[in-house]
Symmetry: C2
Subunit: 361 residues, 2 copies
DNA sequence: CCTGATTTTGGGAACGTTCCCATGACTGTG
DNA sequence: CACAGTCATGGGAACGTTCCCAAAATCAGG
């Protein structure tokens, strides 16, 4: 009977096609143990300098690259973060994503991006995916009525957007809506638009409530009954802004009209509607937007708007998140100021009443 | 001397805050082995139905969620894909990302998004990050002069954009530039614009070369010397389109002008320049864009353009990539057709020569 | 040259899963 | 009733790291 020596059996054969070098291969070449290689490549202090160089050279010679999965599994840190926004194709969130991604890359981390499409179920499923991927934390712009899933998320979160208010215990980064709205209304005021019509967001959303609360307070402070304001609701889309504007024009009749839209897409929709109605902006209709998306420069006239610091929001959110993950800061609420961008969609009623019509910011 | 019993030592204490239940916890509750739990939860066939239900119930009862890192490490598949584009904040790539992300989510995969910012070094570093994250594959819109890193990438790739030509051995998804350019030129032709000026991309880029090659051939076929065409280069940005348009207007003098821009941002820049020069679009200047970004509806007049199927590109690229990873298809080059969008930035010279000026697509 | 402290290294366990193989229970057939 | 054949289950190795602890090597001081 012929017996093959059991001791000589090849115990482990690498799967074909997956033969990336490991720390052990490096150790073999450098003539040290895997522990030493790990120390050398992780920048630990307790290692001889010559040994380190020898290991680094060996690693380079075979093109070794650390397996992030294994590292994450063992260390409990994945170096990945999640970003969940309603729609990455929306210029505002694309800009936020860009800010977050740049900051993450700067910290050698990666960003998992998801679009929830305003769908709570989809958002919940994305959050689950993030948890399973063992990301170290997530930046979330939650869909309004999806508070439960977020509360149960169970890992570091930084919130973006209005629903930060609903989670006082979570960190958040947002723009200063109150300051922005007031700045916009002050600006309108200074141009002689004392009672602008408002194109607001959908009634259910918290963003809408916050926006309208400031408007309300502002007019109370300026001795105007907020109830006399013309408010039309929209869905934050171009189409709905267009529709809202048509309704406003119908109600307002033929006088000069000024509208303040709760986001730029609706403002630009309002401008389209103005054109469709055969009216001119800013001569007949003044329009002020809110967001500061790049597309605002393309309209004629360019859209004057209250700009949110989108990229800054992404940037700070990422920073805050990584601080939180690293245990540097546990909880913080950051509010970034909005900025006025004047491009020409607002008529100056003060000057025009002196006989000359001027378009200004 | 007091000795603590060595055998009674707690060998392993879970790190605080990281006490997520594992497959073993589930096994303990369900009263089966971890292998059985794995089988039950992975949908394997060889398991008793009652046992499966028992396990699933146990898993739910403690809120077990599979650790994706461990799964990936062991199985060699991470269920993650990479996407590297020049700039996620650019509406075209944001749309591509949206398409890819939706398709990935549909397949229960995640997408790691990176912006290279046209920087080859940054692109290389992102590719390295993807390799270390052990993604299953990547969709890349490469920076033109970064061919080496891509060739050495060493995992399934699907290319987006013009550089697909440089890698005939790699799969790719792109729009049919030739068809699109011809469609645009035909359209201009039908409106009486026989010799449009061209605002092209930067000379170095392959996208530029491809665009101009089609233009060149087209005019040769139509008995026009391509050398007589006015071509101004831009950088695919609004500003550079604006600058190029100013140069064109200076050279063209006072006649009617028609320009075909190689992307929408430059076309919109050209429209801004037209306005700055005191000219009207489309009465004095006709403008045709290329891309189909949403912002094209906001200009006055709306931008007529040859639209690339951005979301479709992301969608198909992701599909192709996952096919490739799963070994279904090894290599394919998909070309999607462009579509003409007519909005009003082009004058109809044929009708206008009959006495009436009409804006048309 | 010895001793104790310090630095440097190696070995093995652990992270949480999947995969392979062995075992046991059960079924049907001769 | 013995046997091969299926089916369900359990045990252990493996994935490639990091972390802990012990061993080895080096160093300083007497």
């Amino acid at each position: 009977m012929v017996t093959f020596p059991q001791g000589g059996v090849v115990r482990y054969m690498k799967k074909a096609g997956n033969n990336r070098p490991t720390i052990i291969d490096v150790a073999g070449i450098a003539g040290v143990s895997k522990s030493t290689v790990a120390r050398a490549l992780s920048g630990a202090s307790n290692i001889n300098n010559e040994t380190r160089e020898k290991v680094v050279k060996a690693a380079q010679s075979i093109g070794y690259e650390r397996n992030h999965l294994a590292q994450s599994l063992r260390s409990g840190r994945s170096g990945m973060y999640g970003l969940v926004v309603p729609d990455i194709a929306n210029p505002f969130w694309a800009e936020v994503a860009r800010g977050a991604q740049d900051k993450a890359a700067q910290k050698d981390a990666s960003l998992l991006v998801f679009s929830s499409d305003w769908n709570p179920a989809r958002e919940a499923s994305h959050l689950r995916a993030l948890r399973q991927a063992r990301v170290d934390g997530a930046i979330v712009n939650p869909v309004e009525d999806n508070t439960d899933d977020l509360a149960r998320f169970g890992m570091p979160v930084v919130l973006i957007g209005s629903s930060a208010e609903r989670f006082p215990e979570l960190s958040s980064v947002g723009s200063d809506i109150a300051q922005g709205v007031r700045m916009g209304l002050n600006h309108l005021n200074s141009l002689g638009h004392m009672q602008p019509a408002i194109i607001s967001g959908p009634a259910g959303r918290l963003a809408h409530v916050r926006f309208m609360r400031v408007v309300h307070d502002y007019f109370l402070e300026h001795n105007t009954d907020p109830a006399t304001l013309l408010v039309e609701g929209g869905e934050y889309t171009v189409q709905s802004g267009q529709d809202a504007m048509h309704r406003i024009l119908k109600k307002k009749g033929d006088g000069k009209v000024c509208v303040f839209a709760a986001n730029d897409l609706m403002a630009l929709g309002a401008m389209l509607a103005t054109r469709e109605a055969g009216l001119k902006c800013p001569q007949d209709v003044s329009i002020l937007g809110f967001d500061g998306i790049p597309a605002g420069v393309f309209s004629d006239p360019g859209l004057s708007t209250v700009a949110k610091p989108a990229r800054g929001i992404g940037d700070r959110a990422m920073e805050l998140l990584s601080d939180q993950v690293d245990g540097r800061v546990s909880h913080e609420k950051i509010i970034l100021p909005c900025e006025m961008i004047t491009r020409g969609s607002l008529a100056d009623m003060v000057k025009s009443s002196n006989g000359q019509l001027m378009a200004t910011g």
